[in-house]
Amino acid sequence: MASRPTSRIPKITPLDAVILTALAGVIGYVLFKAATGLNYHWKWEVIPQFILRYDEGTGNWRAGLLTEGLITTLRLSVWATGMAIIIGTVVGLFRVSPSLFKRQVATTYVGLIRNTPPLVLIFIFYFFIGDQIMTALDVDGFVRSLSEETKSFLAVFFGPMNRFPQFLSALITLTLFEGAYIAEIVRAGIESIEAGQWEASTALGMRRGQSMRYVILPQAMQRMLPALAGQFISIIKDSAIVSVISIEELTFQAQQIMTTTYRSFEVWTTVLVMYFILTFFCSLLVRKLELALQRN
């Protein structure tokens, strides 16, 4: 652990107090205007049932619609992160490869993805490319051929299996998109390792692959981790984009509820808080990870 100053009792100067009061005043005023000046009938009592509801049929508590959406968002994010790390690492290694061919393939991929809006990418993939792949692999038929037990088991990981082809389309698009960013993180991580490390490992008689595996990557990984963890938080937020292809994640569920109840502000506020709690929790984990990995 690096030595950090022990916590002092913070002193608040009069100036600080004035600034804080002014800020609180401004925020309070905006909230007040929002609540009163919008000509909107607030009905917060409709929200709790979408977070947690009592199922009369079975007599126990079930996840509400928004909570279900949040779970789908998490599923999507976790899978996309795992797959994007694999793709990103491979492409990142290609980016620093001595072979021109590999470098060009990787540069093309990263360039294409990073310079197109994700929304457009999602549409193109879902309607044109994804469709072809799904048909070729007969994903639909495969899902139908599964037994009920298998389906309910897989549903834990992928959500309702009858919507699996859509889920897969969304997952692949999200993975490709985030993979490009992770590739850049990996490349930067590898390039940040001092040339001396390369020279030393070469001096020990290692070939390039060996140096990469035993000397460079372990050190680079450590430098990449905070950035990768930050990318995971981005993935959670970016997953909202797939609501346009009707994946039932948090944003999509929110829109459906709004169409049904016309309670747009209450629902959007709830969704905002839900996303915030999720990503804030991740941020705390990332902070812990960074501290744990700090070396002197």
Partner: protein, 272 residues
Amino acid sequence: MKLFRLTTLLTIFCLAALILGPAHAARAAESSQLETILKRGTVKVGFDTFKPWAMKDKKGDYIGFEIDVAKKLAEDMGVKVEFVPTKWSGIIPALLTGKFDIIIGGMSVTPKRNLKVNFSLPYEFSGMSIVASKSMAGERSTLEDFNTPGTKIAVRLGTTAAEAAKNFLPKAEKLYFDEESQTIQELLNNRVHAVVASNPLPFNLANEYADQLYLPLKEDFTKEPISFAVRKGDLDYLNWLNNWVRVNMSKGWLQNRYHYWFFTNEWENQIQ
């Protein structure tokens, strides 16, 4: 390195063969979509949430007029029904790329849509209406009153309400939104004079916000045929759907359901 390049090329070639091969084979052996549905044992229905056509209830199940129609249709076919909620703006491309077998979502027949999809006989008729803000629109009570350069009208993108606004109110300024709730919010915030939408939405809004909103027109200003949409080039399927509509119209089943969802509030407690 040569080896690597060769493998890459081979992989791409195999993928292409995989994708193109079965697709052609399938096309050659393809019969009616009806057969496909029966073989699968499930009919996939595309729709988007519109109150009261299709909505999510508290449990997360879909309810509404279109949902009843879809369930009955599947029952008469002897198959299960699978609902595929799809954003309205992309619902026709989704049908064309085979994400589902049929659109049952309160889709009005328009010649432009008909160029891309086939429509069955109409199974209901819906009407357009206007709901306006009292403070903004004040005393206006005819369509002509709203057809002025200073008037702002909010409509949902890709709906026939948007078309109707273009045709009936060419001089007014139209603002397009992706969701109906956004158009309503614009109206309540007095940023637009009126919202054009299919009844019963205007009617219900004027009731809920009686102090701010009103219905300028006493009657619906359009009467639009609503039909099932399916992919082109499938006569058998279309014939079955047309006769399904004929039969259920003559029995009065469709009218009965329409009345329940559009003119009663018995179902309100299921959604909030």
